[in-house]
Symmetry: C2
Subunit: 413 residues, 2 copies
């Protein structure tokens, strides 16, 4: 039997049982998994140390090694993450829509699990546990394919998860892991329509594009964020400065950080020098000619408008109107998070209606686009596609629906 068939059939055997498991059983299983990770802490750290040593040997960048590395604090955070998911409401077998037809049939639209979800992800080993606990709570089986650089850490984590599940009423094969790092298996996974209902890629742009281009299983595109802040003519410049500083510098390597600033021409003279004074010592500014007439900045190239820097770099452009700002954003943005700083109700409304993005802010930092900040409790990523789920993907987005129709003999005329 092919490798993917073994994994797929194992998951399929667990699928129905997990889909109808009680919240009590799911929470108990998650508790057992969190205990098991705690109990296996030493082994997990030892296996992680092997990955880190291999990464050093192959000259991996320190930033990436930091993402790969586990320590006691990070294991604690992983365990806390599971406890958070335990406390979240079960998203399954709920309805907010029940209606009755003229012929007496009653229809209830119920939430049900999606089925089996595949995750293809890069270095961070905590994703292994985060993705598993969200999948389990939402009644979905999960097939994981991590990067080869984290293989020892991931294997140790999956072993601990399965050990925990064996002490619960949830079958241990609700989670399967592709332990063979052969890249062929990714291709097989992307075409395993027989076993997988959805694939979520988590990682850099190349990984995401590869998965989307090559998958015949439906995919959920997450991550890329070229986010803008537009400071309108009527904007409160004090608020604007705080918000730009926060969105650009509070954390630079994240998808909801600000990458381009747009400033209305009538406030550019006043706002840009303030910005320069506050930010120039740590952020490289790249501006168009109008910006460079006011402050010292490198010249922005056409590519800069489209770039997700994930770094201490900010592209800055002066615009004539809210319409030009909207046009620029819809042309270069990645439909993630966009903000306007304004006191004009008309411009706020126009910006929120016409900018095409998952989340559109008025007078707030783009950094809030996040499952935790939104109050979803946890997230599987932030969707930048329009199909299925858009924006932060929490438990409520990891479901599909089933219509229950109850009658007493109705036939169609």
């Amino acid at each position: 039997m092919a490798y993917m068939d073994i994994k797929g059939m194992s998951l399929k055997l667990a699928e129905k049982k997990l889909s109808i498991a009680s919240t009590e059983d799911k929470n108990f299983a998650l508790k057992k998994v969190s205990d098991s990770i705690n109990y296996n802490r030493k082994e997990i750290l030892q296996e992680n140390a092997k990955d880190v040593a291999n990464a050093r040997k192959s000259k991996m960048k320190e930033g990436l090694i930091d993402r790969l590395k586990l320590d006691d604090n990070r294991i604690d955070a992983i365990i806390e993450g599971i406890d958070t998911v335990i406390k979240l409401p079960d998203p399954i077998w709920r309805s907010d829509k029940v209606w009755t037809l003229e012929n007496g049939l009653t229809i209830s639209k119920m939430t049900v699990p999606i089925g089996v979800i595949g995750i293809v992800y890069e270095s961070r080993p905590n994703v292994t546990v985060d993705a598993f606990s969200l999948a389990l709570k939402s009644g979905n089986c999960i097939l994981l394919r991590g990067s080869s650089s984290a293989i020892n850490s991931n294997l140790a984590l999956v072993k601990a998860i399965k050990e925990g599940l064996r002490e619960s009423n949830i079958p241990e094969n609700v989670i399967e892991f592709i332990e063979d790092t052969d890249r062929e298996h990714v291709k097989e996974m992307l075409n395993a329509t027989k076993y997988l209902d959805l694939i979520i890629p988590r990682g850099g742009r190349d990984l995401i594009n590869y998965v989307i281009q090559n998958s015949s299983v439906p995919t959920l595109q997450t991550g890329e964020g070229n986010c803008h802040i537009y400071v309108d003519e009527s904007g409160d410049l004090g608020k604007a400065l705080n918000i730009v500083l926060n969105a650009k510098t509070q954390r630079v390597g994240v998808c909801n950080a600000c990458e381009t600033l747009l400033v209305h021409k009538n406030v550019a003279d006043k706002f840009l020098p303030k910005l320069y004074d506050a930010i120039n010592d740590k952020v490289e500014l790249r501006g168009d000619n109008l910006v460079r007439n006011i402050i010292d900045a490198r010249e922005a190239s056409e590519e800069d408008w489209a770039e997700e820097f994930l770094d201490y770099i900010l592209a800055v452009k002066v615009v004539d109107s809210v319409d030009e700002a909207i046009e620029h954003i819809n042309k270069y943005g990645t439909k993630h998070s966009e903000a306007i700083i304004t006191e004009s109700l008309t411009n706020a409304r126009k910006f929120q209606r016409e900018v095409d993005a998952s989340t559109v802010y008025v007078n707030a930092s783009t950094r809030f686009t996040d499952g935790f900040e939104f109050g979803f409790g946890a997230e599987m990523g932030i969707s930048t596609q329009k199909i299925h789920a858009r924006g932060p993907v929490g438990l409520d987005q990891l479901v599909t629906n089933k219509y229950l129709v109850v009658g007493d003999g109705q036939i169609r005329k």
Copy 2:
């Protein structure tokens, strides 16, 4: 410029304007389109006659010619279809979820159009207008690719639609049609991720599979239905017989017709002879050995359990329990529509929870799975996938969401 770029850029130019169009403007445009189809009736029928003549020449089956053929009644039905869509509530810029975070940010989850939807479809020319009117009302631009056998009819209909739009405030390039029947353009369309947000294939199994296998644009899988009715031990056999007759014979060529009947062993002796008497003169029965011990039937092959006959054929099997019925359905079904006939609350609940399908019935015909019957007013097809929308796809399923976040200077800590 490549063919698909011309079409794609034309649609993109119309996208924002349509996405924020008022309900009034959209309804007025639909009315103008319906007037224009009425006004161009003669030309549409003449062009359709060419398609029918070509189909006859190439020996198309009469059943397919019937689907292709338009007449005055069918044009009337197309016009009525538009009027129905005009009367439906606008699904855009609505919210059933608004909440406020501890920091004072207010988040509203709003419905917005998906963007540009591609439809790849087979012979019926009415799909051209149905798909257009649903797309327009839900604020989505549409790219149509019909079959070459209906090319003259479709071109005449699209011409009439565009003529109608020119008298409205909605740009005529909200609809584009691939008038060149070169199959290469389908491939280009399936990879036009730059222009298309979603592709919906409408037609036979081969077309749907081809689109799903080859599209890097997200797809919505519609149509295939291998639907079952299970007559439980406790079922009311009078109701059961009515329901089976209705679901099998009221219309055989549709996806929500019943293809396999499962009967509990304890009622098989009593129920199967009734069924035989009622149905045998017009429906070919294919049974397992237990069935054939009771009534005269052809032997069912393994393939018969998986087949969507779309014909006067019914596969029949005797099962030991509701569990065996559920297992059979989850193995052979297409997750479309499934029914149990029972008076047992426990078995009804078990069947509805454990059968994996878009719609699960208790004591009613599977034929009700339909956007009109469900009260959605119209439909773009019935989704058999779990991602984005499952079951009938009406206006409310042709949307995505945008989170509006309003604050007064909030930054992330």
